[in-house]
Assembly symmetry: D2
Homo-oligomer: 180 residues x 4
């Protein structure tokens, strides 16, 4: 029997981003789900909530356009032990009670990672994505650690680079291509 | 905006159960999803795979009978860091790379817990369900730690007891009633 | 070069025990350290603090009687992310920020486990000790889950039993003998 | 009663560093312990083992020069669940079974962090140190992510910067001063 689980793309980024980044995050969320992938993130606010909102919107469109579809899901891996902390766009809440240590689990739940803007929390997630061997795309127009690491080879354990993406579409297209 | 996440019921039990327990687990899985709840488990074999198989079957029936439905999901919280370890009936794979320490995370992801048969791993999950304040039902006919703890008050931090269930239907009905 | 790390014995038990159990816990702590082993526990109050207090007392005696000794240590693996939560008798504080999920880490840090009294938290730790293959001794006079599981084979993955100990000395002697 | 636990400084860095970095790491280890602090690291090889070796050497000197002292400890927080993976200079082994997710726990166990050289693993640890509010010093001569982040403010959640240290002594002196 074929496995039922779908490709999953993580979105990592600031909880208090610039307004322009929120629109980028919504677009990333829409494109991830419209392409048939589930989305995972840290389940809280800012870039996380915006990506989930876009993903939910795309999911509702898929449900309407394709009756009987088992749709992609919006997954939130929370720092808290309590589900109530999840933003309202999350379908599957994974409360960890592990605080920021859950950053590693957000990345492990994904097959590939898109980074937007981002401070030290996002930096730890990009570093984990690299360590865990996941393809990473960074949205240059969002600024932050995403922009700083775009195009970089984080260490010599991998031969590729953080993909430097000019737009949400470029990031999603690159990762889906990498996942094959 | 209303939250999209559904009630989640965990199924915990042996990875190498008696054959009769597997049928009970499949029935539990079917009933959990038929009642509109998602199912979470450790994502591996034995009782976990049987519960996921029943849950997938019920999900496919829901998708056929209710076009446009956003169906309940089958969630597996794995000990491994690699998604490939999940049984083929899992929709949403959460690899933790934390070994048995992930038992706590299986329980945290649930609103209520059903135990079948079970050795020391299941015992740790029942204990965590109690600590985390989740309602627990134990299937008496399955034997193991589930049967031994059915009807027990594990400590005085809670006033209720592990519900002693004679059948999958009794267990699921009790928990859905508790969740309100 | 020989490894510097010492044998470590975990003490697991209630945070709000009966007064008589506190004296048993202090005696366990004293004996663990007097026998040259380090002690690990959850680092908080109740049985944990009493065991740490006894262990510190024995350590101070060793330092006086054996100048130049590198003494056993009192290790606390905390649920909180903040060291300030440790009881004052802990030497080495390991804050996890993982809540009760850290119970597994307390057990992993040990070569063997002694249980006193105990509710559902202690039950999860005894279950983990069994899963992780660590020898376990349970102090029967302390009551609680320790007394209930004394003499039991928790599942058939192991051929031994939870050692039924009538006294702190019996528990410590048994475990040190098992560790060889 | 005063708390028994000592200040703890983490050393983070590559498991396969340049030879020159190993000597810097040994010197860092020596200075941390000679100043009365315990040392924590990931417990494996490369920079971790070199720092532990220097720390053990300083500890043995303290034990000789100050009979009756309860000396600083060398703590290793391992990715594996098995203590045998620790390098031979570790006193207190904390096996986590959590893989790289334990990077966060290495940092949580410390009051301050020194980074040498380093690839993506070290990058995640520096990011966590920043998130968790721990003072960080980076050894510029070691290269790697340590050198790249020296002098940087990783995000605006903190007003300070990663301290740019020219030598082990500068790094240790700065952090002990910060810890007060």
């Amino acid at each position: 029997m074929a496995s039922h689980h779908k490709r999953v793309i993580a979105v990592v980024g600031s909880s208090k981003p610039a307004a322009a980044t929120l629109e980028l995050a919504r677009e990333v969320g829409r494109l991830v789900v419209a392409s048939g992938c589930s989305l995972v993130c840290g389940g809280l606010g800012g870039i996380m909530a915006a990506a989930c909102e876009g993903a939910q919107q795309a999911k509702q469109e898929l449900l309407t356009s394709t009756p009987g579809l088992d749709p992609p899901q919006v997954i939130g891996v929370l720092p808290a032990a309590d589900k109530a902390a999840a933003n309202p766009f999350v379908d599957v809440v994974i409360p960890t009670g592990m605080g920021y240590t859950r950053n590693a689990l957000v990345v492990l739940a994904a097959d590939a990672v898109i980074a937007l803007e981002g401070g030290s929390g996002t930096l730890s997630e990009i570093a984990y994505a690299w360590q865990f061997g996941k393809p990473v795309a960074a949205l240059v127009p969002s600024g932050g650690w995403a922009a700083r690491l775009a195009g970089e080879q984080l260490d010599d354990k991998r031969g590729d680079r953080v993909f430097s993406a000019d737009s949400p579409a470029a990031a999603v297209t690159y990762l889906i291509d990498r996942l094959g």
